[in-house]
Symmetry: C2
Subunit: 230 residues, 2 copies
Amino acid sequence: MKTNKTPCDLSSCLLCRNSLAGWLPLIDGNRQMLSFKKKEVIFSEGSQVAGVYFVYEGTVKIHKAWSQQKELILKFARKGDMIGYRALGNDQILPITATALDDVTLCFVALPFFELSLQSNHSLTYALMRFYANALQEAEKRMRNLALMDVKGRVAETLLMLQHKFGADETGQIVMNLTRQDMAAYAGTTYETFFRTLNELRTEGLIQQTDKSLILLDAGKLAILTHTDP
Amino acid sequence: MKTNKTPCDLSSCLLCRNSLAGWLPLIDGNRQMLSFKKKEVIFSEGSQVAGVYFVYEGTVKIHKAWSQQKELILKFARKGDMIGYRALGNDQILPITATALDDVTLCFVALPFFELSLQSNHSLTYALMRFYANALQEAEKRMRNLALMDVKGRVAETLLMLQHKFGADETGQIVMNLTRQDMAAYAGTTYETFFRTLNELRTEGLIQQTDKSLILLDAGKLAILTHTDP
DNA sequence: AATTAACTATGATATAAATCATACTAGTAA
DNA sequence: TTACTAGTATGATTTATATCATAGTTAATT
C-alpha cells in the first residue's frame, strides 16, 4: 500500500455523486488516495473497520475464505464501486476480504467523515439505503443460485456477469484479466469443474475461447441455462 | 387475506420505533392490518411492489422458487420483522415470495406513505440504511455457507439459527412449528438428506428429538461444525 | 537467460448428496 | 368414520461434482 498524491476527480463515486457542490471541498480534504499492487490485500476478514473505499482504477475482488483452501468471491469491484461498506452494520468487524487483482487506486474516506456526510445530507443517506437495498436483492438472488442451481447454470451466470461488469470490445471479447481460478471461485465451484464446463459450453457453440480471450456467442442461450434446470 | 380491525401497538416495527411521537397518528391513519391463514401467500415473486409489511403475529417464510420443485428459504420473519422491503431497490418487482407458516397478522404500509416517512425523517432513513447493511452482511455470510459448507455444517447452522430466532423454553425445546421440509429448504438441501443429518447429529449426542420437539444439547459443538471442514 | 512459481489442461477415481422407491403416521376434509 | 392429503421415516441407487494425479505452459523473479 502506498499513499498517492494524484487526487480523484470527485465525481465517480456514490459519495461525490450525492453530495452538493459545496460539500466537495470538504470531501477533498478528508479523502486519501491509496495505491495497491496486484495481489495486495486491501483489508481482510476479521479486521477492524476504518472507513469506506471507492475504486478509482483497477479491479478488486471481494471474497470470503473458508477453511484455508476454499474461497467464494462475492463480487468484483471496478471504477466508481464502493467497497468496505459492509462495515456500516452493527458489528464493526469486516466480514470479508478485499484483494487487488491488478494495480489498483482507491479513494479512502474514514468512517467519522463518512458518517458526518450522512448526517448532513439526507439524500446521501437515502442513496446509500437504496444502494444497500439493491445489493441485498442481488445477494439473495445469488444465494439461491449457489444453493439450487447446478454448476453449468452458475458458470453461465458467471460469464454473463463478467460480460456485464467488464464489457466486451468490438470483436465481442470480454476485456478482463481474471484467472480461471477466480472465475471458478465466483461461480462457487472448483477450477477443474469450471474448466470442464467451459469446454462443454464451447462444444455447444455458446462461447468461444482462444488463449486469453473469451467471447459469448449466444448470451440468450446462456441466460436460459440460468433460468431452468437441465 | 382479510383486513383486520384490531390495530397494532405502534411500537414493535422499524417504522414506529424510528418515528417521532408526533408522526405516529399519521402512521395510524396509513397502515392497514391484514390477516393471512396458514399457507396463504402474502406476496409472490415477480409481482409489483405495493408497500412494506411488518409482522405483528405469526411466522412468515421468505423464499425463492426454482424450477417448480425446488425452493430456498431465505429467512423466517416474526414479530417486529419487516418484509417486502426488498422492493425498495431499483426494480419495482418483488424478487421473492412470502408465505404464512401459521395464522399471521401483518401491518401493511403503502409505499407512498413509507417514502414520505423516509423523506420527513432522516433518522428513519438512517435506521433503514443500517438495517439493510446488516441484512446484506447476513446474506453474504449465508451465500458463502451455501456455496462452500457441506450439508452437515449447513444443517448445524440452520439449527442454531432456529434456536436464535424461535428461542427455547425451560426444557431447552425450540418452540416452533416448522416442517422438516421447510428446515431443509432453509439449509439448502433435500428433505431426505436433512433428515439423515439430524439422525447423525442425534447419534453424536449434539441434539435430541422426540416427536415434534427439538433440543440442542451441545450448541458449542454445533457451532464448530459451522466453522470448520469435516 | 535461467529458474521458480502460478496458471492451465485433462484423465481417472472417489464421494457427498440427490433422486427414486416404498411405507408409515398424523392431521384435515368429506 | 372413512378417505385423503401432507408430512415423516428409511433403504437402495444414481449422478453430479470434488478430489487426486500428472503434465504442459505461461508469467514472474533472480
